[in-house]
């Protein structure tokens, strides 16, 4: 077990392309760190540099305080689980799991003891003598995990270990991994493109985009205080709604109406300098901070507005209500880019209608295609600068 420190880590390819740019990350001993981002954001490259499978172009990588930049993978004492498992097809499950120990010249009795122990934990005992070809996807996945666990390494590296499993098995294995990590207490770096996986598993999450680290924090922090539009749009499902707005005296004018700013928000905006009045902003609103106004009694703060629900999806425990708002123009090239990257795509354009999704209580009486009234909790409003995409607020409520 050890801590892992990445200092100014950069990966530059021969053609000058930088897959990872100046990455700084400190992962504490025993911490479960998630690297998350859309495909091509450099998260896997970063992981492979920690494993030693990619050369580090610049920067320092320390595992347990020791500089390991130039050490071969075998000398780093880390275990890795690959996306496609990479089990040795000519070996049985037992041999697969004991391979690393055998290479380390561990006595056979010791290997057998450890393999049996781990097989018991992973429920693989009755499959020990079988070949990977005869195992199901979930079993192969567990063997790959077992191969890593048996070694008792300084750290586990996982490269999208669940992405090849079907949805149900994925949820099951997710719980399993979480349980295992708590049990073993080993430092773990886990790469995924699935923000749900990231939110549910990690102690801390590092969001990456185009090789640049966007934000590091606990799932709660990331969710409540995204530092920029990208993180805001990437984290959360359904994702955050974005509407163009204009700052006025103590309120922000949005297509759904004027929303009163909280005192903290006002302080942040004044502290940030620049003319508060008349400033164009992008407002971020999480779907769950909407509610059917009929269900909100005596609201502390918020705004009520009339809508016509286009589509109402029932999830059983709740409704997803989709409605359109007429939105003005917010010019920001960077914003379009960000939106494309995060797959939000619902950034307002000139004269376009923007779709907004709201998560309503199952008791809601709104009907599809009929006018209704919704309420928005304005204390949860996020504000972003359209030019830079940065959040204009420094603190919001953490759930």
């Amino acid at each position: 077990m050890a801590d892992i420190t990445l200092e100014h880590i950069t990966k530059r390819y021969g053609d000058g392309y930088e897959a990872v740019k100046d990455l700084n990350l400190e992962i504490a001993d025993g911490e479960f760190m998630i690297l998350v981002g859309p495909s091509g954001c450099g998260k896997s490259t970063a992981l492979r540099m920690v494993a030693g499978l990619e050369d580090i172009s610049d920067g320092q990588l320390k595992i347990g305080g020791e500089l390991v930049n130039d050490r071969a993978p075998k000398d780093r004492d880390i275990a890795m689980v690959f996306q496609n498992y990479a089990l040795y097809p000519h070996m049985t499950v037992r041999e697969n799991m004991g391979f690393a120990l055998k290479l380390a010249k561990t006595p056979q009795a010791e290997i057998d003891r450890k393999v049996n122990e781990v097989a018991q934990v992973l429920d693989l005992e009755q499959h020990l003598e079988r070949k990977p070809a005869n195992l199901s996807g979930g079993q192969r996945q567990r063997v790959a995990m077992g191969r890593a666990i048996v070694r008792d390494p300084k750290a586990f590296l996982m490269d999208e270990p669940l992405s090849n499993l079907d949805a149900k098995l994925r949820v099951q294995m997710r719980t399993e991994i979480s349980r295992l990590q708590q049990q073993l207490g080993t430092t773990m770096i886990y790469v995924t493109h699935d923000q749900t996986e990231a939110l549910t598993l990690g102690d801390r999450i590092a969001v990456m985009r185009s090789g640049v680290l966007q934000q590091v924090g606990s799932p709660g922090e990331l969710y409540a205080n995204p530092t920029n539009l990208f993180v805001a749009g990437f984290v959360g499902s359904p994702s955050m709604n974005f509407l163009p707005g204009e700052l006025a005296d103590g309120v922000v004018k949005l297509p759904i109406g004027d929303v009163r700013l909280s005192d903290e928000a006002r302080q942040d905006l004044e502290g940030g300098g620049g003319p508060a009045k008349g400033r164009q902003v992008i407002a971020g609103m999480r779907p769950e901070h909407f509610e059917d106004s009929g269900l909100v009694h005596d609201p502390p703060s918020g705004v009520k507005f009339p809508v016509t629900i286009d589509v109402l999806e029932s999830m059983g425990s709740e409704y997803y209500a989709y409605f359109n708002v007429e939105s003005g123009r917010v010019a920001s090239q960077e914003l379009d880019e960000l939106a494309q990257d995060s797959g939000v795509g619902e950034i307002p354009h000139a004269g376009s209608r923007t779709q907004v999704v709201a998560r309503l209580d199952a008791a809601s009486t709104v009907k599809q295609g009929e006018p209704g009234e919704l309420w928005y909790d304005s204390s949860r409003l996020q504000l972003f600068d359209p030019e830079s995409g940065r959040s204009l607020l420094t603190h919001s409520k953490v759930d």
């Binding site: 494993a51 030693g52 499978l53 071969a72 993978p73 075998k74 880390i78 275990a79 890795m80 690959f82 496609n84 498992y85 990479a86 089990l87 040795y88 097809p89 000519h90 391979f99 690393a100 290479l103 380390a104 070949k131 990977p132 070809a133 005869n134 195992l135 996807g137 192969r140 191969r147 070694r151 090849n164």
Partner: protein, 276 residues
């Protein structure tokens, strides 16, 4: 998909025709090899008088037994060297990115396509001048020229099939590059290596052009060349019986090899390594 009875009949007939067409010459030559010299030209498909004399005859001739020894030795050595060299080359081609990689493959392919007959003339002169004429290396070298491109091509295709991650997994598991190769990659590449070895061996074993042009005595003459110089019973009789018997004898090792390694040749050993 279920096939209709008509389709089944059609395919069966087509397969039967192909099998019969390719078996008739073999049966014929076996039949010839058992015919008594007096009935050899009687035109009947099966021997009317069975005899072993053709077989006992060729094994009494040192011309044939020496040639058999040369054939086995030359083919085995050429195969071994080609496959070992081709393994290194193919592994590099499959795994590493280096300038000129495509050029090497194209060049290898071009050499494999080269008609052997066109280099026999120059080789004959060269070998006589440098003393390689009528020696084992004199045949092994040109065989390797043609076998290597073939081997590099087939082997690099096999190596490419083996997932990269397996090697990386081995490295992370604590293996040195050599251990990763010998404990993980080599066992998986075995079917490919065997297939290649058999192809190369067949090529060397069957060659006639080089053998007949670059050898002259029992020192290095291989079976195909030796068969061509079998003497008849008299100056005016063709040694058909002996030729047939010799042809059958040299076919047997090939059949044995293919049967022995058939199981290994069948691919699919990599199944289960990665999610398909």
């Amino acid at each position: 998909m279920k096939r209709s009875p008509r389709e089944i009949t059609g395919w069966s007939a087509a397969i039967a025709i192909v099998v019969i067409a390719s078996l008739i010459p073999i049966v014929w030559i076996i039949s010839l090899s058992f015919k008594d010299p007096s009935t050899i030209a009687d035109g009947s498909f099966l021997p009317t008088k069975w005899t072993w004399t053709n077989y006992s005859g060729i094994f009494k001739q040192s011309l044939f037994t020496d040639a058999l020894r040369n054939s086995i030795g030359i083919a085995l050595i050429a195969t071994l060297i080609s496959v070992v060299l081709a393994c290194f080359a193919a592994y590099a081609i499959a795994r590493l990115d280096f300038p000129g990689k495509r050029l090497i493959l194209v060049f290898a392919l071009a050499i494999a396509m080269f008609p052997p007959i066109s280099i026999v003339g120059p080789l004959y002169n060269m070998w006589r001048n440098i003393g390689l004429y009528d020696t084992w290396p004199g045949l092994i070298i040109p065989y390797m020229t043609f076998a290597l491109p073939l081997a590099i091509f087939t082997l690099s295709a096999f190596f490419r099939e083996i997932p990269w991650e397996l090697e990386q997994a081995a490295q992370v598991d604590g293996a040195t590059p050599f251990q990763a190769f010998f404990k993980v990659i080599a066992p998986l590449a075995a079917p490919g290596v065997f297939t290649t070895a058999i192809l190369v061996f067949l090529f060397c074993w069957n060659d006639f052009v080089f053998a007949v042009s670059l050898t002259s005595t029992s020192k290095a003459e291989t079976v195909p060349a030796a068969i061509a110089s079998f003497p008849g019973a008299s100056q005016f009789t063709a040694p058909i019986g002996s030729i047939a018997a010799a042809a059958v004898v040299v076919t047997i090792p090939i059949i044995i090899i293919v049967l022995l390694f058939q199981r290994r040749i069948v691919a699919g050993l990599t199944a289960g390594a990665v999610k398909g």
